[in-house]
Symmetry: C2
Subunit: 224 residues, 2 copies
DNA sequence: CAGGGTTATATCGTATACGATATAAAGACC
DNA sequence: GGTCTTTATATCGTATACGATATAACCCTG
């Protein structure tokens, strides 16, 4: 029976808007709590309200936007509580997901992961910090092997996107870049070798390190 | 200035459609893989295509619907692989989330959890199996204390909804109802007592039990 | 008769238009 | 003078209308 095969292909306006608005929220161009009037965004992007609404609804599902019926959309506020949630969830999911990815990855996925790591580190070395967040997310996601853990990848990706805002807002790159690079390389090595347990553990340590940077900023102490 | 305070209140058409279509998908009225033509649904519910699209996009974000640009929506297919993912994710998240909920819950949340348990068991005793899935989800969710773990609750709720379809499709209630009741009561007791570790462990055991019922079915039935 | 290309059609995606809701402003009553 | 009611306005949410895309039917060519 007709299960539609696959190949999307057209880049609908809604989808493009979703990406562009998401980028602005993550980068802080649309600040936390800011109102997002449909007419204004529509004019800003030169489209009608319909695809704007669809994009905002998508972003709401991702947790970046909040909606109040008949009162409009606004950028979801940031809070220390949410940051804790994001990183607790990441710690609960990513190590397992990446460990499993290490087992599931074939040649293709291994090349993708290496490529993602390369792109990320090149961007960092050239000081293109704007792209760093997305590329970092892409690397982490590649380790999950989205093709073979579709749902898990969706959840992880969402958390990575949410985490970006906190990292950008609160953390300076100071020594983080070189440390991240070391952690990434160790993690990638274990992952490429198919050492699931080690990859999972290194993923946990890596996420935990960023979390602790954040905790330092918040002035809280780490906890179990 | 105006950070919008809070109280939604109107039940927009899109929101109602989201619930109704979700219910039909979860119940199997819209079968896995079935096409969801916008015009047909619009006529079926007596509305225009716009809220239909918005509902379907929301359900896509929840993982119940798939979209193929310019080719339409369809009910997301079920697969053994996805079932494994759902339950692995639940096992990774729910025990922690419920353990934490046991610490966070105040008087109000405790009453809510008890009420949710009561409603669920009453429905089961009266043989109202249709409602059981939702009520079971509501109970699990109450233990997470959504008010104080907003993001976590969103993720968990999504997984609970996804899990429902597999439970309905593959599992007969045979002895599961009474067993679930016992597990629920033990879990609730530990949770009410604020015993986070015990609540988490019982949550893990409880989810694992359902997972193993599913695994048994998959072991017997041949399925893609 | 087979295969590639072209046209036709159904459905999707977006623009425009309109009605509905909530907030803010103005007025009436105590 | 203050509070509640009433009215006005801006923005949201949905219906209608139209243009765009993909699939399928058709035709032409070899």
């Amino acid at each position: 029976m007709g299960t539609l095969a696959a190949k999307p292909l057209v880049r609908t306006v809604s989808a493009q808007l979703t990406e562009r608005v998401r980028a602005r929220i993550v980068s802080g161009a649309y600040a936390p709590g800011a109102a997002l009037p449909q007419d204004v965004l529509a004019a800003e992007f030169g489209v009608s309200k319909i695809p704007v609404r669809e994009a905002l609804l998508q972003l709401r599902a991702e947790g970046l936007v909040e909606i109040f019926a008949h009162r409009g959309f606004q950028v979801r506020a940031v809070s220390e509580a949410e940051a804790h949630e994001i990183f607790r969830l990441r710690l609960a999911l990513e190590p397992q997901a990446i460990a499993r990815g290490a087992q599931l990855a074939g040649q293709l996925e291994r090349h993708s992961a290496e490529a993602a790591a390369r792109e990320l580190h090149e961007a960092l070395e050239h000081g293109r910090l704007e792209e760093a967040g997305d590329l970092n997310g892409a690397f982490h996601l590649a380790l999950v092997v989205p093709a073979r853990q579709k749902l898990t990848a969706e959840v992880v990706q969402r958390l990575l996107t949410l985490a970006q805002r906190y990292v950008r807002l609160h953390l300076q790159p100071s020594g983080r870049i070189s440390r991240a690079r070391r952690e990434h390389e160790a993690l990638l090595a274990a992952w490429m070798a198919g050492d699931a347990a080690q990859a999972g553990e290194l993923a946990r340590v890596h996420v935990q390190a960023t979390y602790e940077d954040l905790l330092r900023v918040f002035g809280t102490d780490a906890e179990a």
